[in-house]
Amino acid sequence: MANVALEKQKAGSLNPIERVIGFIKKYGWGYAFVIPSLSTFSVFILAPVVWSFIISFQDYRLRGDPTWVGLDNYVAAFNSQNGKFTVFGLELEGGVFLQALFNTLYYTLLTVTANIFIGLLLAAMIQPLGKYAQTFFRAAYYLPAVTSSIIIALVWRWMFNSQWGFLNFLLKLVGLGPVYWLSDPDIALNSVTLSTILTVPATAVVLFSAAMGSVPKDYYEAAELEGAGPLRKWWSITLPLIKSTTLYLVVLYTISSFEIFDRVFILVPTGVGNSTQFIVTQIYQSGFQQGRLGVAAAEAFILFAIIASVAVVQFRFLRTDVEY
């Protein structure tokens, strides 16, 4: 106590320069250690985000000076000039970007639901196994996830091939098909979605099974004493206790689904009409193929807004105060 008082007294009597030197001596190394990381973040993320926001209000092309266009880029994204778009077979007025938004939402809804559900199911299934069997299955599910999404998509493209592909071969065995998986505009979006759903959600399995493993055993024993069956135990004990993991995974998968690009770039490179346009394929096309950088920036900010609001809503709904 006395020391602190003494130091305060000393600090008060120091002149500004000595005070700065004292501050640097005390905290300098802390700042020095974070400066490299902080500067890369400022230069490569924070500054570009601000600049991108400015560009989104400009007509910015690679040649010539940018001109201010107000909200035109945002309006252009939703404009009806470039024709119609279809939602569940319904033709509506609107641009390609609206179609891309709808497709992305559709894809996200289906894949996130499937990923969480399959992840839960598989994690629950490997739970009763021994340690080595668990490790084996986790590794088997995880292996495709370390491979580049480009490579996995190339394999799917071959499996979807209408003439020689594996899926049509399976259909033929039961007397169906052929299905034009990637060239029929009514099917292509579903094929892209299917290829994601049939890829085991490795992260979900690993995280769910870790979360399930850390639920205290005596909870289950207490429930058994009360006469609860396995389903009841799962519903009333396991699910509530792994809620924070579920939340994390829902947000993670939602963000990565909204950012779908690699898979589409390989599966349907030129797109099947507008039926396989997604938000990021639109950003890529308007910005880096058509050179309309302002429009691309605006579209990226629409994506940002959607992701941020979805994440906030999901946190609200799924937030958990359970501690164990």
Binding site: S37, F41, P48, S52, M125, V146, V155, A202, A210
Partner: protein, 293 residues
């Protein structure tokens, strides 16, 4: 005692036959999902060693009956830059990983153990960038790269890769668990601050550094959109961009799946081996919360 008795009671209460069938169906479900999960990988390697003429037939060969390395020869004849792509990928990933090993440990250490005004605020800012989709920064980063003449230059891929949250978060979490007494002791013995970092923190962080190195390497080995935009000449491609450029390789009027798959399989192989060796680190890293997949 009481719990053992209950456990026994429950097991006995179940009819043994039904229990066995439950196990049986469990294994059927597990094995079939494993097959679905691994099939694309299997198919990748099988098609890579199957001559193209045998890939286009019904029914397809499920086993590589006529295996040959013919596809690889044609791959190298067609994609002359293939090894250059691999070298580029290696250069990019090693540079980025090297950067993160040092600087993430430094800032992770500062965020975990040092006290200074603004620390929590800075950490919050760094964490909040997780919410920002990379697509938002594409346009300005591209303009800067262009103005600096870095288009088609590997630096354009390496530099933005140095801003990545995961490593900082991982190292902070890990260094928080290290005992502070060791640093104190070193300081009393007259060790300077960089010395504490170099002699105490860095050696103690070895396990976390392993996970960090593996994760960073794999993330950037597989990254695609930014290299695709900024690398334009074939010689400068990284592997994913190069492999994607093989997408429509044709031979006598039809798509040459043999060559495409040879290229893809060769690109996938290092990661598969890497994973099988360091599997534990990967799964540990996922638990800290990183890879999307």
């Amino acid at each position: 005692m009481a719990t053992t008795a209950t456990k026994l009671g429950v097991v006995q209460a179940r009819p043994p036959r039904r229990w066995k069938w439950g196990r049986f169906w469990l294994w059927v479900a597990l094995i079939s999902t494993t097959i679905i999960s691994l099939f694309p990988m299997y198919w990748l390697f099988v098609t890579a060693v199957t001559p193209t003429k045998d890939t286009i037939k019904t029914p397809p060969d499920l086993f590589p009956f006529s295996a040959s390395f013919d596809n690889f020869e044609r791959l190298f004849a067609r994609a002359k830059d293939y090894w250059q792509w691999a070298l580029n990928s290696l250069t990019v990933c090693l540079s980025i990983t090297f950067f993160h090993l040092i600087f993430d440990t430094l800032s992770g250490y500062a965020f975990a153990k040092k006290r200074f005004p603004g620390r929590n605020f800075m950490f919050a800012i760094i964490l909040s960038t997780l919410m920002i989709p990379v697509q938002v920064t594409l346009v300005p980063t591209y303009i800067v790269a262009r103005n600096l003449g870095l288009i088609d230059n590997l630096w354009a891929v390496i530099l933005p890769g140095t801003a990545d949250v995961f490593g900082i978060f991982l190292m902070r979490q890990y260094i928080q668990t290290l005992p502070t007494e060791l640093e104190e002791a070193a300081r009393i013995d007259g060790c300077s601050e960089p010395g504490v970092f170099w002699r105490i923190i860095l050696p103690l962080s070895k396990p976390a550094l392993g996970a960090l190195a593996i994760f960073t390497f794999v993330r950037f080995w597989n990254s695609f959109l930014w290299p695709l935009i900024v690398l334009q000449k074939s010689r400068n491609y990284t592997l994913p961009v190069g492999v994607a450029s093989l997408r429509d390789v044709q031979e006598a009027g039809s798509v040459d799946y043999g060559v495409i798959f040879a290229g893809a399989a060769l690109a996938a192989l290092p990661m598969v081996i890497f994973f099988l060796i360091f599997q534990r680190y990967f799964l540990e890293g996922v638990r800290v919360g990183a890879l999307k997949g």
